[in-house]
Amino acid sequence: MSRDFDVCVIGSGAGAGPIIWSLANAGYSVVVLEKGPYLQTKDFFKDERYGNLRDGYKPDLRDEPHILEEEDDDGHWRARNTYRSGTNFWNGNLVGGSSNFMSGFFHRLKPVDFHLRSTFGAVEGANVVDWPIRYDDLEPYYTKVEQIIGVSGKVVKHPHQEPRSTADFPYPPTEVHPVAHLIDQASEALGYHAIPTPRAVLPQTALGRQGCSYSGYCGAYGCATGAKGSSRAALIDQAVATGRVKVRPYSMVKKIRTDGSGKISAVDYFNKQGQVKQVDAHIYVVACQAIETARLLLNSKGSKHEYGLGNRNQQIGKNLLFAGGGSGSGRLVYSKMKKDKAESLKEFGAFVNRAIQDWYVIDDPDFGPPQKGGTIDFVHMHPNPVVRATRQIYGQNGLIWGTELKRKLERHFVDSRYLKIEAFCDWMPIDDCHVTLDANTKDKWNLPVARVRTGYHVQNLQVGWYLASRGAEVLKKMGAENVISFASGKPPTNLIAGGCRFGNDPAASVLDADCRSHELDNLFVSDGSFMPTGGSVPYTWTIYANSFRVADKIIAQLGGKKSA
């Protein structure tokens, strides 16, 4: 049967890029439907206001809200519209998706992450399962990401170093801030292993992209050099150059349409003018980021798909994951250190790039039986000065203003180098963390919006706390003041996965081991939705690697790589 394209990809972020790149390079035609604009590297700039304070790359929540369900202190679930709530589940709607704005802290999963259930047993109240694939299945693709998207780093020995098929990273670490050496010294004194954090950032010109300019404004900012390995800069722009990819920006997919036999007939989408258009293909790939992927599939009902597309067993939207963990910070006071040390710490622009994974598995009798732990990343405080300044207005006895505020601002900005810790643990998959459709709220296209319940398991807090307090020890050893650390059950809205688990049992999963729908052999999901458990690291390296793996499955299904 003739189709408009070989493959139709919905979304264009980290989950989509490897599919687009691989299929185009294998000789297939690809159409990409992306709800946001197609910006180029030259369009990005570092603005304290536009991208951050005003969410300029995200839709107006009056037009496109989510409904957030949170548990109150009495155990009731309270729902509210995300407009003016302080929570925003959009992370960037444009070609490349939120990968344009990531910091690119990249860690691989480790072998243990693929079989948590059989290693540590069941966790009460959580739906922990083993993955249907093993680390060895994904390892070649982690390596592919290092080479094609560009990951910089340095392999050093530490207790939880995962196996690798290559000796080291293809790119050396980016430049580091002098504070990294203080972390190294403090960690060594404590017997911990501080390792260089791998980054999806090119330290030098390579792969047709410029090296990093060390502007100091990286995470949450679009990259103006192309050094950051966003799906757009690293993959889609190159794929478009093959001539086989058609990117259709401002194309909001409304529904994946099915015929009377239940097979996919076309995709309906709104174009920039708000008209409904259609496109068809042999293979359909959904990668809208976990919440929107679940929403689109749930919105794609048909006569043979009464609960949504490929949702006979009503698993879509369940076991949504965020990144679990803890956090903390400490303050190094310039006026209390030697002048040359203070001057060196005042340097601005280079990265901290240090992590500790000594407790990726926690084997500490005081903490209980051996269990999954996680990763501690050390990072600069976010550079946006407005956000930092605004926090200074809060005091213990009320708001601070006048000259008292001015002195506090001076202490904060002029006399301090703040260092933050971010501790990542597994976000336990539970029944109370899921996506459904809201029965009452529609977006500006009259489509039901996603309703997101964000319950968390107490183990997130326990492990998050454990890790954050270890990170805090390092900060104290470095001589930091005002060291705090804590765990949080609040979901970080930029690190989202799950909701369309892959697995071997169709009754308990949405996708098969190849991330193909159990019910439709030409429907794939390639963003982080497939993850049944999240691992104790940020997700994107795994999303990229898995998407390259799924691309190979799709190419095989289409008959293999076409000869040139």
Binding site: G36, G56, R84, A224, V386, I393, L409, A487, K490
Partner: protein
Amino acid sequence: MPPIRIPPPTVNLTTNSIFMDRRRFLFSMSAAIAASSAVFGGLQSLQAAVKQQPATIAGLTLAQWDVIALIQTHLLPSEKDSPGAKEINALSYFQSVITQPRHDPADKTFLRQGLNEIETRAQKKWRHRFFTLDHDQRENILRDYEQTRDGHSWLVMIMDYLMEALLTDPLYGGNPNGIGWQWLQHTPGFPRPPFKQPALFA
């Protein structure tokens, strides 16, 4: 096991996302900014605009805006070695933000209500208009108002925009010549934003 400290809702895991707390977010505009030259023209063009349409801005009379300016100065006073509300063009910055086409109209109403409340409190307590009170009397009224939920939120709104005027790009009308950045020794990122902002989701 040691107790678990659950943090206030300001915490988000990544450094990278911006950690807004709810109060702050409540009074931040979430829409993309549609640019206009009046918005970015800074104080002079705004004063020119004011001259042409002297009646009200955002539904507030110019006399009411004088009170806002006074409150801004109270919250961020000028000093010999550091800028205050006046030097950072805080008033015109605030006016430009609140008159953006997609700025939530609820903020304007809230701004007016807060101002009326402050005026009422000044009359009741000191039998004078707020504008004529001395520093300590003003402090007293604002501190009292802060004790109420609305008062707290209202003051946070004013201070949030003060911090924006202090530390956002001069392009937006505050922080002239980077005076706020210089004071706090802040290194801005590069490249700097272009004159005209893309309104991506209009």
